[in-house]
Each structure stands twice: as structure tokens, then as C-alpha cells.
Symmetry: C2
Amino acid sequence: MPQISNKGQRIPASPIRKLAPYAEQAKREGKTVYHLNIGQPDIETPQVMLDAIKNISFKVWAYTPSEGILSFREKLAEYYNKLGYNIGPDNIIVTNGGSEGFIIATQSCLDAGDEIIVPEPFYANYNGFACMSDAIIKPVTASINNGFALPPISEFEKHITPKTKAIFICSPNNPTGYVYSRQELEDLKTLCLKYDLYLFSDEAYRDFCYDGQTFVSPMHLDGMDENVIIIDTVSKRYSACGARLGFLITKNKQILATALKFAQARLSAGLVEQIAGEAAIDTPASYFEHVKQEYTERRNILVEALNNMKGVYCPNPGGAFYVTARLPIDDADKFCQWMLETFSYDNKTVMMAPATGFYSTPGAGKDEVRLAYVLKQDDLKNAMACLEKALEEYPGRTVRNPELAVNTI
Amino acid sequence: MPQISNKGQRIPASPIRKLAPYAEQAKREGKTVYHLNIGQPDIETPQVMLDAIKNISFKVWAYTPSEGILSFREKLAEYYNKLGYNIGPDNIIVTNGGSEGFIIATQSCLDAGDEIIVPEPFYANYNGFACMSDAIIKPVTASINNGFALPPISEFEKHITPKTKAIFICSPNNPTGYVYSRQELEDLKTLCLKYDLYLFSDEAYRDFCYDGQTFVSPMHLDGMDENVIIIDTVSKRYSACGARLGFLITKNKQILATALKFAQARLSAGLVEQIAGEAAIDTPASYFEHVKQEYTERRNILVEALNNMKGVYCPNPGGAFYVTARLPIDDADKFCQWMLETFSYDNKTVMMAPATGFYSTPGAGKDEVRLAYVLKQDDLKNAMACLEKALEEYPGRTVRNPELAVNTI
């Protein structure tokens, strides 16, 4: 039998999805499973997008240009220019989801053995994108104790080698919710210019900043046009994760020309998605106000409930719709599986993503989980009641001794 | 400025799309351009598919499972089992187009430096898929003189090294239209089993066999379940190229498990596409009968017109909707560009794909072009009149001397 590839052996399973079979089994047993494992919001997609789908008038479901439909990219450029990005339609390549934007960008910039520095915990699928290019992720560990702020630049600098080609960031962050400050981005800029590095900026959660926090993009910084690649998506902004519509944005003409060749190799992004995406830009501001208000309330419920549980610590992040919390447990992977396989409270349980999958350093995040606040407030409250009960019952519960390693009771 | 990747420099531009700027310019100058360059049919998408889009009832455009919606895969399995594939829903991973099926399959099976043997001319985007894995294509040249039949297996065997991991085939073939016989596939099977190779079978054109020719898939052969990976797509079958919906199908469980990890890294295929794809399986047989009849007539028009032109030779292929023809020209790239940039007849011109991009051997296909018969019969006739005129006027016209190399007049 022929062998599968080394990278195919190396690519990790998704920490967000790998426990799905246990969730399916729990549901078959009649349990209610609260899905806090995945950033799939229950917020309704804007009506203008749904209407655009229903009103399609084409007779031939045809390819679009590989870089995306021009009228759509023109409207996107207007949208980004309102944010101060100062781009034209030629700076945008439309992709099959932000994921494909990442894949095309990494393929355009990175060869086998090239290194990417990423503050961890980070969005687990970066592992997959790096793996597809045989590139190597070098993590710089952020700490839950300061809410997962950007680690000191000196920590990044320690990892620089002749192979270092790029830094990946995500702000507001998945999985921590942390929003990088202008100063933090300026520090990254200095580093990127000093060592001639690409800065990949994952901006999937740009619209979700709370408590008056301001989103800052590397696109807002002067003098690094050749270094910055933005990855964006409609998935979270419009609660349209299943649209598979994203964007690669850069002012670097060489990357644009190279990315276009990779885009041509897969022909085009979806036609229906682009029609709906163009309509989505007309989504009224009230939609976002309502959504932001809702997420703020959900976050408050989650963070308060978590911090009220004995032995649990959860920072109060300023953005996205995730928190990464520390639990009094021996092993997040075991705990999350146990909650689906063994535990139930009032015939209900909670699915969470073990944080280990968001760290690249072996053993890191072993007592942390990522929770997505994508469910209705009452469901979140029920889920938190479940979690509290589960932590009481879990056989691997630990007492954290700040002076020592984690101890099992 | 940071450097782009080596593979980004290496990946070729699409021969199908690279001349698009010249076509755009010609249109701006008021010329009609007949697009025979790209496999984008003008055939209408089945009404059941369009209706499925218009009738969507979801309120949240959500992710689907990474492997695809179960009910869709169940229905697909039934469809494939009518063809004799003998598979279940678990043998199918739904992808963003056949292109992504190829990318995921190559990533799952091939590492940097691994070699793939491909009969040339071949679908140009295989270069891109190989490039993304840093794999190397080793071409085996088929000849226009026998209609691009499979080259002798001994020619394949000459290219086998310890690095050889896979063979890629496409039948009915893009760009030649040739349909592989059962014997040709049996010969490939013997080779794959002897050297433990994967056989990637691109079946995008399965439904388009003419003159009573029978489609045979490697799935129909016994004893090579672990070796065969089918790549399929709805693009051509339902004239739905812009749907970006394809399938990776295999009975090899290790590949399925590996491919699922790559599929998870990009989350899911599109929801609307899968809803429409499920509906498409109910397309009435009369749709395909009509379409096949239409393509047969178009092919006859094209092949007859081409062979009636002085110095032109075009085999009469049994499938797909392409022909690769030999023209009396010095350089297909120059000629195709000249037709868009300089030539017009009655203010019309033709866009074709230079065959050089479908060959991997340098210099091969220099006097060949690929034409897609995807336009209405009258348009095809007009396009052929244009091409005949263009060949008369083209300054790089050659006389072919069978004893010598091609000579410019």
C-alpha cells in the first residue's frame, strides 16, 4: 500500500472539531450538547445577503475571474477605505474563505523549512496552513495572567533565524479575545522592518471590539506596505461561516502577482458567495450595533460565571467572541472528552475546545479551554451551570498551587 | 522587501487565463471575442439546482461538517454506486471544487521532491497542485498522431524512481478529449501495483462520452482500492463551474483520515453549494441527453472545420468538450496573443489556450492549441471562420515538413 505524506502525518487534527464524534454519540444518547467549541454563531445572517441568494438571476452558474468579480472588489475597496486602508480593487484577491486566503498567502511567501513566529495560543488551523507549505511555526507564549497581551518583542527576537520569513497575528484574537494596541503593532512593525519579515494579519474579528476598544490594523501603520498581508472573511462579520468567502489584501505587488497564479490554479471563488458578499456591504449599521451589544452581554455572562467558579480564571477580553479560561483540571483534552462521553447534568453537557491545540509548545495550555460565546444568553447560562457541576465531579480535578506544578487531588 | 517563495516563482501562470488582459483590451476596442480558451460552457445549469438556491430556507449561513453534509454524501454514494463504484458516504470528502480535491489529495500523498508521472498534454493546473506540495511532474508525451492515446507503459516505467509516488490521469481528457480504454487502465493498474503508486483519476468529464464510447474508471478495476483516488466536480456535469463544489473519493482509509485533517484546516465546503449539489442529483436524464447531443454536434462542427483548414490537423476525440489541434504556426503563445492584440475579421476574434501550457516538456506543443467547444453552434462556426482567416494572415505561419523541424516561411 502506498504511504501517505509526511506532512499528512504531521498535520494535527482540529482541536475544535476532533471531539465531534463524542458529541454525536452524546446526542444519540439523548443529551443536549451546548456547542461552545466552535465559532459558529447563532446570530442570523443579514437579510440582504439571504435575499441576494434567493434573487439570483443567472442561468449559468459560471466561473468568476480568479481574483474575484471586479464590481465586488471595487465595493470592498470602498469598504476598506472607510477603515483607512487606502487600497484599490487590485489590492484584493477574493478567496474560498479566509482559510484559502491564508493558504494562498503562505504558499506565495513561504518555502519548506521557512519559519513563522506566532504568539500562542493561536488559531489552531495556522498549523495546517503552515504544514501545507512545510513551513515551521515558532511559538512565543503569551500569558493568561496579563490577558494574553502581545509577549515582549525581545521574546520574538530570540526566535529570529535566517529562516524566519513571517509573523502571524490575529486581533481581536482567536482564541483569547485580546485586542492588540497600536503600540503593540508599532513594536511588531519595528521588528518586521528590522528583519525584513512578512506580517500576516488575520482580521476575521475586526468588527467585534467591546468596551470602547479600538481596532488597529497593520494597514494603519506607515512604511510597511511591502510587509503586510491582511486575511479577512465574511464568516464572522455577517455570521456567514458557510459562505466560504474571504479576502487576501496587500499593497505588495509581487505578492499579488504570485497569489494570482495560485488563485488561477484553483480557478475562482464561488459566484453565489460573491453576489451575496457584494450585497452584504449594504448591511445596515444597526445590524452590527445589535450584534455587538449581544456579544458584549454574552461575554459578560460567560466571564462572570467562569470567574465565580472555584479554581477557574478567565480574563475579560476586549474582542472577538472567544475566551480562553484556566480550569482546575489535569488535562483539557481528557476533560473535554469526559464531558461529552461520561458527564451530564440534567441530561445536558458542554462541548469546548481543549486549549492544547492552540499552543505549539508541548504541554502548554493543558489546563485551559477555549469557549466561544456563540449561543443565546439562556443557553450560555445553562452551559455554565453544567460546566460548574462538571468541574465538581471531574475525577481529574486539580488544586493549583502557584508555587508548584499543577497537582492532582 | 521580503522575498516571495521559490514555489511562488515556479508556479506557472494559467495558459487558460494568462491572456485574459489582451482579451479585455480587445473587447474595450469593440471586438467580439469568442472564448474557446476556457471550459466555461454556455449550457444552462439544471433548473433543479437554480431552484435549490432560490429556495434556501436557512437563517444562519453556517459551516457544514468538514467532510460535507451527510445527507448529501449519502445521495452521492447512491449516484456513484449506480456507476459501479461500490462506496459509502464515508468514502467521500466534499471539497471547494475539484481543484481543492486535488490540492487535498496531493497534500495527503506527496511530500517535497516526490514525483508524479503524468501523460502530457495534461490539465495545466496540475502544475499548480504539484507546486503547492513541491512535488515534481514527470511528463510522458502522448502524440497527436494517434489522437493522444495513452503512451506505452514502458514509457511510464522509464520515469520510475524511488521518488515516484503517483500517476495522474484524466479521462475523458482535458485538453485532448481522449477517452482511455479499459485495457489502457488495466495497464496502468499493473504499473501502479508493481511500484506501489497512487493513481489520481480526474473524472470531471465522465458524463461526456460520444459516439457510443464507454467511460471506464479505475474504480471499476479490481484489486487497486488502496491506490485509487477519484477527483470529481459538479462544474462540468451540471454546467456549474462557479459552484466550487467537488469531491475526493477513495477506499483507502488512511488517505480519508489524512484528507479529513486537511479538510478540517479549511473548515468546510460551501453550504449553498451542497444544498444545490444535493438537488442536482435529481437532474432528469433528458438534461444529459440533450447536453451530450449538443456537444457531439459542436465537436463535429469544430473538428470538421479545423481539418478543412490548410495545414491544420485535429483528431476527433471521443469525450470531454476540448480538442487539441495542430496549427501551421511558429509559436502558439505568440499566435494566441496576436489574435487578441492585432487580428480581427469582421471585428471578431477568437481566444484559445496555447497548448504549451499543457505540456511540461520544454518546447512541446508549440504548434498546438486547445479549443473548448463551449459556445453555440453558430458562434463556433463564426469562430472557425475567424481562425481560418487568422491563419492566412498570421506573419508567423509555417509549413510543416514531416521530415524536418517546423520551418517558418
